[in-house]
Point group: C2
Chain length 271, copies 2
């Protein structure tokens, strides 16, 4: 089915999800909306996050998408069930896919999850993990310094290692811990530094990567996969500053995004 997949995020972090979908499903066209102007969502009230997310969804529905991927942990925590009940097209988020992948790889049943303060406080990962398996021992840890660091373009090097080492220190002595969920879409950008700090015996699970794979499962189940290879022209919209978008996309894609447009919040809201 030659319709696009809609990807929504509070800002640029979801580009890691978009990038993975483009890598794993090269026949699919994406339309991405990042609400950069109102980012971050992590500290906003639930009602506000729901309202902003619905505005982005409405904007995308005008573009005849076949599926929605909520590429933002906070938005997933607050709106996934609402959107699944409200919409006729399939909707997936980043939390359940990260939880499932972690349960798949753990041998000890001791899983840590790192995320923004909002995500960790919502207990969404903790609930997703124990809903599937009550015997899973979850160690949650908020890492409030990671997103600002990534948004400054600092991914590796001494400063990154120092910040990551300090933040992850509470996990270092954890007994039997063998799996760490990167519970924020910004974190795959500092994956190498996190792996270095945690050591090779801890397996990192990237929600971004896993969400892309589950997108593939859903398209298959609903028989909506695009089997024709074509020169895809993805579209990217941001409600805010183009510069951070350009910088992160350059890091991820190794090239500039062609179809990058700003869209006003009013237009998102009214669409």
């Amino acid at each position: 089915m030659n319709k696009p997949i809609g990807v929504i995020d509070s800002g640029v972090g979801g580009l890691t999800v978009a990038h993975e979908i483009m890598r794993q499903l090269p026949n699919e066209k994406l339309i991405y909306v990042g609400d950069t102007k109102r980012c971050p969502y992590g500290s906003r009230p639930r009602k506000e996050v729901i309202s902003y997310t619905l505005e982005m969804v409405n904007f995308l529905l005008q573009k005849d998408i076949k599926m929605i991927v909520i590429a933002c942990n906070t938005a997933t925590a607050f709106t996934l069930k609402i959107l699944q009940q409200k919409l006729l097209i399939p909707v997936i988020g980043v939390i359940q896919s990260g939880a499932r992948a972690a349960i798949n790889v753990t041998n000890t049943n001791h899983i840590a999850v790192i995320g923004t303060e909002g995500t960790i406080k919502s207990s969404a990962y903790q609930n997703a993990l124990t809903n599937i398996n009550q015997r899973i021992h979850v160690t949650p840890l908020a890492c409030p310094l990671f997103v600002p660091m990534v948004e400054k373009g600092i991914f590796t090097g001494n400063q990154a290692t120092s910040i990551v080492t300090d933040c992850l220190n509470p996990l270092k002595g954890q007994r039997d811990l063998d799996t760490l969920i990167l519970g924020c879409t910004h974190y795959p950008l500092i994956e190498k530094t996190i792996q270095h700090v945690m050591g090779q015996h801890v397996q990192l699970v990237s929600s971004s990567e896993e969400t892309a794979r589950e997108t593939s499962v859903i398209l298959d189940v609903y028989q909506m996969m695009n089997k024709v290879t074509q020169n895809q022209s993805h579209e990217f919209y941001t409600t805010g500053n183009l510069n951070i978008f350009k910088q992160i996309s350059h890091t991820l894609f190794n090239e500039e995004i062609d179809n990058l447009k700003t869209v006003t919040i009013e237009k998102v809201a009214l669409s």
Copy 2:
């Protein structure tokens, strides 16, 4: 939803899938049917495989299952689309999940797949991979000696290493090969030997493990997951000899299966 999941296989290989579902989804109850008497399916005509598989499905449908997992590569190749169109409950197989997982982990886009002669000749994995991404380079290899070896209970040791080394020899010189799909449900039982022979630079993808994870995705999407932990009483049926069932299950589960019953082919066919 407190209904069981049905798992069908031509014999005992599918127990690796059942074992993974039990591990990843401990709240779910399974009913397994292995058509051991008419195993292997690999060399049988397509029409016969379809007919036998439908008999097992009919047997399971009487038991009010909520989903079917085809834990057999040959049966998946020949019946997945038919069953998906015919039944009102979701149906998944082992081939697409293995293909998706391999596309997820490969960096070089060069993926090898090993399986029985029937599976490799059907090109089902090759098609599943290139349907998703036409740039994937697939190296298929039939390993006809692996299933008889596993069924004799030989998993590791000199003899296993020797047979596996000989069979996998054509893959050893393959340029850029970084991912190997275990395209037969028997192969996870000799995974350690295969990894040793191929070396650590080749990532093994187990269809069994990945199918269990996709079962979780499907239950979630259809909101059919059982969230109540209870003392599960799985049921296992075989049309043939109980001994091989007991041996393999002992290896996999480290204990005897409690609810193991024989069922006649006539009963499977008539149900």
